[in-house]
């Protein structure tokens, strides 16, 4: 597949002068970009024009240039930097703790059937209990400070990671493990060289789900009981009717989510090159 693409592009550049080939490649790239982002750009253009000309209510949907200006002032002026930092700290801490506990525990539970069977009902029950519904309980236990906020995010992000890791380990083909044994591999070697790599794609599914959940819970927790953070700024700006500032905070939250996802996708690509090749 890859080889063919390389072959055809080489063939093209031999026949035509290099300038033309470059141009052709540029046009091809442009058409890909159009197909992927055309609709989004159209939507943004419509927003900008519609808001400026008053087709849509500019007090609720201010023009994009105002939103971008508010974002720029907030970030460059430093007003929002504290909020970004604290939001990053809360979600980052919780996510790291969920990864640090969820992956090792999942690997362990997936390996040992008896443990998995005993704990599965509890896990299913906890998973179905909304973390947000438990937030008041965490506040009672841990107070209204940072700990309860980080904990509620941690709680919600732990389960996707844990369950995906257990699933990944359990789905490793038993035949592959048996075969590794025929080669005389020890349990530790089989774990390191067979079970772990085979579970990585599933673990990443859990990680990406958790990253999304982390952001969701971050915003909710900051809206409920905080005086700092991007989620708080969304609510606060709305109370004070600073609509461009509200959208600025929303935009920053979206960017946070996008960059977290992009980071995970990049890492996944590097770790499981083999899994991508099949499609």
């Amino acid at each position: 597949m890859t080889f063919q693409t390389i072959d055809t592009s080489l063939g093209g550049s031999v026949e035509a002068p290099p300038g033309a080939a470059l141009l052709r490649r540029g046009v091809a790239a442009a058409s890909v970009v159009t197909r992927r982002y055309g609709l989004l750009v159209g939507f943004l253009v419509f927003w900008q024009i519609g808001s400026s000309f008053g087709w849509i209510n500019p007090t609720v949907f201010p023009p994009l240039d105002k939103i971008l200006a508010a974002t720029w002032t907030g970030v460059a002026g430093g007003a929002l930097l504290d909020d970004i930092a604290i939001s990053l700290q809360r979600s980052g801490l919780a996510f790291a703790a969920a990864v640090g506990l969820g992956i090792p525990l999942g690997l362990f539970m997936g390996q040992i059937r008896a443990v998995e069977q005993a704990l599965d009902p509890i896990l299913q029950f906890f998973r179905q209990t909304s973390a947000l519904a438990l937030y008041p309980v965490f506040i009672l236990l841990l107070g209204l400070g940072e700990t309860s906020k980080v904990f509620v995010i941690f709680w919600a992000t732990l389960f996707p990671i844990l369950l995906a890791t257990i699933g990944g380990v359990k789905e490793v083909d038993r035949k592959l493990i048996e075969m590794a044994t025929t080669f005389g591999a020890s349990r530790a070697t089989i774990f390191r060289r067979v079970v772990l790599p085979a579970s990585v794609p599933s673990i990443f599914v859990g990680l990406r789900l958790s990253a999304t959940t982390a952001l969701l819970l971050l915003i909710a927790a900051e809206m409920i009981g905080a005086n700092k953070g991007l989620g708080f700024q969304v609510m606060n700006a709305q109370y004070n009717f600073q609509i461009p500032q509200m959208f600025a905070a929303i935009l920053l939250l979206a960017l946070l989510g996008l960059s977290a996802n992009a980071a995970l996708v990049t890492l996944q690509r590097r770790l499981c090159r083999w899994a991508d090749l099949s499609h």
Partner: protein
Amino acid sequence: MHIEIDEISKQFGATAALHPVSLAIPSGALVALLGPSGSGKTTLLRILGGLEYPTSGRVLFDGQDATGLTVQQRRAGFVFQSYALFRHMTVFDNIAYGLNARPRATRPQKAEIARRVTKLLDLIQLPDIGARYPSQLSGGQRQRVALARALAIEPRMLLLDEPFGALDAKVRKELRQGLRDIHDTTGLTTVFVTHDQDEAMELADLVVVMSMGKIEQIGKPQDIRARPATPFVRDFISA
């Protein structure tokens, strides 16, 4: 290596997968276990390889009792239809797997491993695919790599369970010849399971026809064709 199966039986709970069966496999022979589904072929092969232990009876390797040997001690090379390659390893690493899995003391040097893998890639006539991943290979190529992986550990015998089962007819034919050639070059005692009588008759020196956990007949392909020992064998090979 000469293999002797002496009154082996295997019971899975209430089902008898093998009634006592006996069979002598001469050193260097290429033997087919042929029979319909559920006749106990896989069970017998797994007992030979040490993946399953018999309920009664003995296995002898070169006259020595090997019944209690573990799968590692038996040093068999396995190619099973279900033993897929490791998807996360390149072809090279797949073939080298059995060598890399050894404890440091008995593991060959890196250069020696590379030399062996290269030689095996030549043997399976796919010299240039070492850097590829299994998902970039055809089904037939994958099974050839699986064969190379089994051979890499320099096994004492080769055990194959429907190695070409999932492949289309044309590729099967090619691989049959490939297996024959590799058998003739290495001289390894080889036992393969099939329910395809053409495959058994064309490829094997000795065909063992099984049915319902029993051996119906042992013989050269032409003898079995000419003189089926039981009505079952006659029906099975004329089907």
